[in-house]
Amino acid sequence: MLAKSSIASLVRSIAHAEQSGFAVEVLVILDRSETVTRQVISDHSSYQFRIVETDFGDPARARNYAISQAKGKYVAFLDADDLWGVNWLTQATLAAQSRHDAVIWHPEVCVYFGSAHHIFVHLDMEEPDFCPSGLMIENYWTALSFGAREVYLQNSYPETDLKAGFGYEDWAWNMLTISRGVKHKIVSGTGHAIRRREQSVSRDTLSVQAGPRPNPYLVAYLQSKQNRPPPISEAPLDMELADDLS
């Protein structure tokens, strides 16, 4: 039932974006979802949601699948517990259109509610006080990101495997994308509301002392200090993509 609020915030943000002249498609991935969630979503079928049921049991694979199915130029994620600010889609699209390089966008603030009560401020990689080593210790950004679909297509989310000690697909993805030359920035003046439940995936992840999957983030950072090419086989985003994004 909590998804009801999320969907309502999505509808409101879409309306704002459409008023600004942007077309929006909604793709709902129901990954091993409960019956109640399915019913809540189908109540909004009048908004022409594309609903796909999956059985991944892994947020990373669900995100990657969603990207593969999306058709738009840009992609924005909304998790079922959370709510977008009304102007999110509009402002994020405008910000994305202002840059010609590979950028992932985040809201400026996240208002945590439910079992939490604090405000989380996202960091901007292009600010002078950005601390690269700290991202190894804490995740700087939530999973509700926005960016060109091409960026997501070229950078799949690393799968989680709590048994092997790997969780936090969004954190691992943030590091992976940075190691490949993608910037993470904030959309000024925007916010999300993030629901913290008593029992969440993050807490399961914490309980098994999981961390992000191996990625070349820090090694790439050290090598960039020396102006060396990154060690990964995949090429960073090239100029063709930059042109596509423009």
């Binding site: 210790i137 820090l218 020396q226």
Partner: protein
């Protein structure tokens, strides 16, 4: 001014003339002097000895007294002492630490013009703005500039009482993530965000989220812990990600340190000095840093951040491995690293190949078995790619003790340490002269110094030369023995074995109660000494009836005396065994064999020295914790 100077005492005149007393700086550094209307120089002269305030930024009073015992003993005001004596004696002086006012100016958070604009009373009285802030403004809750809101800070953080809030922020609050000004922008965006959606969810509309807005925590992701600071500093010192990291507790003159140095040297020889970094984890002791090959970088966690706790060091080791992703990692006796493998080995085995070295059991003061194998091997072995032992006996013992399954047994590798190349210059014993017996080691219960003393006391046939340090009580006993008995010589500590005058001795006597295959035996053998040793641990793999004298009943003095007597009476047999030992060293304890084993074994993970061309993600460990498999690219 001249009249004023003339009216002053000689000491005051001398201080003023020195230029080392800065009245304005002193007032800012000690604002209570102004508040209490005390003459600054009088205050300095009265209190300059204790608690030793600095007279200006140019003179560090405390350090001056610390550097000069003469000045400290004199009980004079340090500046007075310096001007009267220290200057002539060329005692160096140093800059004083930044005062509170200095730190405030350096922070950029004090804005004189803004302060005067916001505080017209200060402007009207012609009070210097910073002095006013230090003397009155801070305690009155006035703000120093637009970027620090004192009222907000004191309201938001009620734990700050009776101290300058700006200094609290500069010294502590900033690092703790406290905010200097009310985060109006964040609150405004948060309010706007919630206003647009709060009607959608009962958790938002049932209560006013911003009811007590000033006490809502505003945080960003940047970690501000001591461990995070240490990690940031550590990363700043690294230019090239290493292919291998060796974790050590310290780097002192010990057997395990030498063993670690061998592995580091082998890696440096094979892949270059930049390929390997030594991380000193548990103690900031680097006495044997010369053991590292030239060009090999070392990092001491406690030098980077002296107050790191054991738990913080475990976290840091986990981060170092996950971040730098070396192809291979070796732990040589670092407890923090063992704990990191125990706690995080399940995931760390996917970031690197983890190796460790084990030598022998160890015992606590109360006699309990508490060596690293006992404490960690069972839990860590599934995550380790291999464990190297300097002897095979201990592998057999542990395999039996823990019923190590066959698939994990393949990870346990005997890695005989290389013997040093020593130029021999042994002086031969003349005719009836006494046999010269050397004993060298730590004066600890493990080494059975009691037995040594019994052997030495029970015979007058031999000359004993005892080297080492350790237990104070044992040192005293040996000194006493040395004074009482002319053929027993206690020489005290030695830095390294190769520095000992081994050419003056005939026999190395080794009396240990438990051991692996101690390096000192390899060094003694390489130096051409006949060896008499207790049969414990892996010693029998080096010393047997053909290469030396192995004493089976290890705590009985008479057996050692019998062996020494046999050597004294049969020098030709002793020489035959030295020759046999030379052959054993050449065959088994050579550098090439050492490198080969360290490159190829355990077979499945290819050994610590193996580094693939693709440094990142070239191996996979099976989820069940079986041995790592190399996947060549």
């Amino acid at each position: 001014m001249i009249r004023l100077l003339k009216s002053m005492s000689f000491t005051r005149r001398r201080i003023f003339a020195s230029g080392l007393f800065d009245v304005d700086w002193y007032k800012l550094a000690h604002p209570y002097v102004v508040r209490d209307k005390i003459d600054p120089l009088t205050h300095f002269l009265r209190h300059g000895s204790r608690p030793r305030p600095a007279p200006s930024r140019l003179f560090h009073a405390g350090r001056y007294l610390g550097d000069s015992a003469l000045a400290s003993r004199s009980r004079l005001n340090p500046l007075v002492h310096y001007l009267a004596y220290g200057k002539k004696l060329n005692i160096p002086i140093h800059q004083a630490p930044a005062s509170g006012a200095d730190r405030i100016l350096e922070s950029g958070l004090f804005d004189s013009n803004w302060y005067l604009r916001e505080n017209p009373d200060v402007l009207a009285n012609g009070y210097p703005p910073l002095l006013h802030y230090m003397v009155h403004g801070a305690l009155e809750g006035r703000s120093p500039g637009p970027d620090f809101d004192a009222k907000w800070y004191l309201h938001r953080y009620p734990d700050i009482v009776g101290i300058n809030p700006l200094l609290h922020y500069i010294d502590f609050g900033q690092e703790e993530g406290r905010t200097a000004v009310r985060p109006e922008r964040v609150f405004s965006i948060a309010r706007e965000t919630i206003a647009g959606i709060e009607d959608l969810d009962p958790d938002l509309y049932a209560t006013d989220y911003f009811d007590d807005i000033d006490h809502i925590d505003v945080v960003d992701g940047r970690p501000r812990t001591r461990m995070a600071r240490a990690f940031e500093k550590l990363i700043a010192t690294i230019d090239t990600p290493p292919k291998a990291i060796v974790f050590l507790p310290w780097l002192v003159h010990g057997g395990a340190d030498l063993v670690a140095a061998h592995a580091i040297r082998a890696m440096s020889d094979k892949h270059g000095s930049e390929s390997v970094v030594a991380v000193i984890c548990d103690h900031d002791r680097l006495e044997a840093i010369h053991l590292l090959p030239k060009g090999v970088k070392h990092l001491s966690l406690l030098q980077i951040e002296p107050n790191l706790s054991h738990v913080e060091r475990i976290e840091l080791i986990d981060l170092i491995i996950r971040g730098l992703r070396p192809s291979t990692v070796l732990n040589v006796n670092s407890r923090s690293c063992w704990d990191a493998i125990k706690r995080y080995g399940n995931r760390l085995q996917n970031f690197t190949r983890l190796y460790a070295m084990l030598f022998c059991p160890d015992f606590s003061v109360s006699g309990r078995r508490s060596g690293y194998a006992d404490l960690y091997l069972r839990q860590c072995l599934p995550f380790l790619a291999g464990v190297y032992f300097d002897n095979s006996s201990y592998i057999d013992q542990l395999t039996q003790q823990f019923s190590v399954p066959a698939e994990l047994q393949s990870k346990l590798v005997t890695l005989y340490q290389p013997a040093p190349n020593v130029a021999r210059n042994n002086t031969s014993r003349h005719g009836n002269s006494r046999l010269r017996v050397m004993w060298a080691g730590r004066l600890m219960p493990q080494k059975n110094v009691d037995l040594l003393m019994r052997i030495a006391e029970q015979t007058q046939q031999f000359e004993f030369h005892i080297w080492g340090r350790g237990s104070h009580a044992l040192e005293l006993q040996l000194s006493d023995l040395s004074r009482r008995i002319p053929y027993i010589h206690f020489h005290g500590p030695f830095e390294r074995f190769e520095a000992l005058p081994t050419s003056n001795y005939d026999v190395l006597l080794y009396t240990s109660l438990w051991d692996g295959l101690p390096n000192v035996l390899l060094e003694a053998a390489a130096a051409g000494l006949t060896i008499v040793a207790s049969n414990v641990g892996g010693i029998s793999e080096l010393i047997d009836g053909s290469t030396g004298w192995l004493v089976n009943i290890s705590d009985e003095a008479s057996h050692y005396i019998d062996a020494l007597s046999e050597i004294a009476m049969h020098p030709a047999e002793a020489q035959r065994r030295i020759d046999a030992m030379d052959e054993r060293l050449a065959a088994r304890h050579n550098w090439e064999r050492y490198q080969r084993v360290l490159t190829q074994e355990p077979t499945v993970s290819k050994g610590f020295l193996y580094v693939s061309t693709n440094d990142y993600g070239d191996f996979k460990c099976s989820p069940g914790g079986n041995a790592c498999q190399i996947v060549d690219s």
